[in-house]
């Protein structure tokens, strides 16, 4: 009787979060459909100019897409090697005591408010970049990538380390028994054995970078610009959503619907990456019992 009540309450909680997700998707779908009844999906996906807020309107999402890819890709270039090497160090090299100090310190990186990262990029990273590359725009994709990369290091290192540590000691001991060095054990035995978890952590971190909003809005600018040059000013999908929704965009207008079309695009990208990481985890998991 009592158990049934508890079970019911728990089910209600689980159902609530599922229903919210379904609701969000439904709203996105409804407004996106309305958007595509006015703007052709071909123009949206292939247009090279994103200027929905001006008189002469253009609805090509490519500049926003390349903006997001530039930032997320740059962040990945920083976070993937640093995060993975950190994970290897924590899991294989660090003493238990050192790990217990290092890990929480590293995780603080994830706890810093993203607006702080944004201003850090604008007032510290960008001036530094401009010493090296004087032609850098004051708002640029590179400085946003760097701080977003730092921001997602804990996601990579924490999840990768969990995966590395889940590799049974018997494998390591077997390798040592064959005369392998510590480096060989780490890179040739432990990392390959944990590869599915490591790759899943990369994908999760990158999808977080794609969705990152505040830091890129501040540091990367608000200029929808079809470019792959990280030193130029760009606008990401998330930054556009901030720009258009902060003002007084009237509900039900085409501009209002662009928010949902862009949000839908963003949602599909992160969803695809999450599904991919789940699939990799399931498909390539090595079972050790």
């Amino acid at each position: 009787m009592k158990e049934g009540l508890i079970g019911g309450a728990l089910f209600a909680c689980a159902a609530a979060s599922t229903l919210v997700t379904v609701g969000v998707v439904l709203v996105l779908l409804r407004e996106t459909t309305a958007f595509f009844s006015e703007v052709s999906i071909v123009e949206f996906l292939t247009g090279t100019r994103w200027e929905p807020l001006f008189q002469d309107r253009h609805f090509g999402v490519l500049p926003l897409l390349t903006g997001s890819i530039l930032v997320a890709g740059g962040a990945g270039v920083i976070a993937v090697p640093l995060g993975l090497l950190t994970a290897i160090f924590l899991s294989e090299y660090a003493s238990r005591r050192l790990r217990e100090i290092l890990k929480p310190v590293l995780e603080v990186l994830a706890g810093i408010p993203t607006v702080v990262y944004g201003y850090f990029a604008l007032t510290f990273v960008t001036p530094l970049l401009r010493v090296v590359f004087p032609q850098t725009d004051i708002f640029n994709a590179a400085s946003a990538s760097i701080v977003v990369g730092i921001m997602i290091i804990p996601t990579v290192s924490s999840l990768s380390e969990d995966a590395l540590r889940a590799v049974p000691s018997a494998l390591r001991e077997g390798a040592y028994g064959l005369g392998a060095t510590k480096l060989e054990v780490s890179t040739r035995v432990v990392v390959p054995a944990a590869l599915s978890g490591v790759i899943a952590s990369f994908l999760l971190a990158i999808s977080r970078a794609v969705g990152e909003t505040m830091a890129v809005t501040i540091a990367a600018g608000n200029l929808a610009n079809l470019t792959l040059n990280p030193l130029e000013s760009i606008q990401t999908m998330t930054a556009y959503i901030v720009q258009a929704s902060l003002g007084d965009t009237p509900q039900g207008t085409l501009v209002f619907r662009t928010l949902f079309a862009v949000a839908m695009t963003l949602f599909l990208i992160t969803l695809a990456m999450n599904v991919l990481s789940q699939w990799i985890l399931a498909r390539y998991r090595e079972e050790y019992q």
Binding site: F139, G221, N222, G247
Partner: protein
């Protein structure tokens, strides 16, 4: 977007005060004589002024209820001449059609200039070649489809360095005003510039970019004057740099303009409306600067204040 859905009510604070002093009947400040509602609508540019005054006013007169809408100058006049509102905010003088509409409906009004709004054109302090730009220069840079890419495209003697542009976001009144004054049509602008409603971002951008050109509210320039360089604007009668004087006497044209409130004459018979207008004119020298606009001179406010009893007719 209906006008009612965009109406802010600024009564919450007043309601609290009201509750705490038990109805305000025994209020010793003498404000108990003033009660009632004041309906205001119109320009979103004037909204911050109307709202700032309303907040202060309702602290002084807790029995009043002020609503301030933002239907835009034109939308505001429509409701005003339809007799729905007591005061209409306007970021331009009333036009002939609106005067006729009000006359036809029997709505008499007085025009109350409340403040000056000025825009400033800004470059980086390290920019040593731009001192003054004509309105034609600015139009060539900012018009839709502009082909200006470098400073040399503006004047052949200037360097062939790319102009980086920083300007108001499309939702701001600054954007509407700048595009109308420079490009001749509200909302007509080239799209490829850093747009932000947040003036801080624009200041950061121009400050950090040697070949930048930007525009934003003059009040904001003043706060950051040491980090930016002000450009004089030639509207046809020589270069004039914005300053409190040139904005307030209208010589900084076309980037300065007066802001107005139009008050229905018959509404001045109601103590709440009349006291609101008089309160505004008395407090303006202090309140207007807090909104980012420029106050008129004390004498000008006093001159309008002196006209109120006559405008109100019998109520004296």
């Amino acid at each position: 977007m209906t006008s009612t859905s965009r109406t802010w009510s600024v009564t919450a604070g007043a309601a609290l005060l009201l509750a705490s002093c038990g109805g305000g009947e025994g209020d010793s400040s003498g404000s108990d004589a003033v009660s009632g509602a004041v309906a205001i609508d119109g320009s979103s540019t004037v909204f911050p002024i109307a709202e700032a005054v309303a907040e202060e006013f309702q602290i002084a007169y807790p029995d009043t209820r002020i609503t301030v809408g933002v239907s835009g100058t034109g939308g505001g006049f429509e409701r005003f001449c339809g007799g729905e509102t007591d005061i209409s905010n306007a970021s331009r003088p009333i036009d002939e059609g609106e005067v006729a509409a009000c006359a036809a409906a029997g709505v008499e009004f007085i025009e109350v200039p409340v403040a000056w709004d000025g825009l400033s054109v800004i470059v980086n302090p390290a920019n040593d070649f731009v001192e003054c730009l004509t309105v034609q220069d600015l139009r060539r840079v900012w018009q839709p489809g502009s082909s200006v890419r470098t400073w040399r495209d503006v004047r052949p003697s200037w360097p062939a360095e790319p102009i980086r542009l920083y300007g108001a976001g499309t939702d701001s009144g600054t954007f509407d005003y700048f595009t109308e004054a420079i490009n001749g049509e509200v909302g007509a602008s080239r799209p490829d510039y850093q747009a932000s409603e947040d003036d801080n971002i624009l200041v950061q951008g121009v400050e950090g970019d040697r070949f930048a050109l930007g525009y934003f509210g003059y009040a904001y320039y003043i706060e950051n004057a040491e980090r930016l360089k002000l450009v004089a604007v030639d509207g046809g009668s020589g270069c004039v740099a914005p300053s409190d004087e040139t904005i307030a006497d209208g010589t900084y044209a076309p980037l300065s303009r007066p802001l107005f409130m139009y008050v229905k004459r018959s509404a001045l018979d109601r103590p709440a409306v009349r006291e609101y207008v008089e309160f505004l004119l008395r407090e303006a020298p202090v309140l207007i600067p807090t909104t980012g606009y420029h106050a008129l001179s004390d004498a000008e406010y006093q001159a309008i204040l002196d006209e109120i009893p006559e405008a109100a007719g019998t109520a004296g």
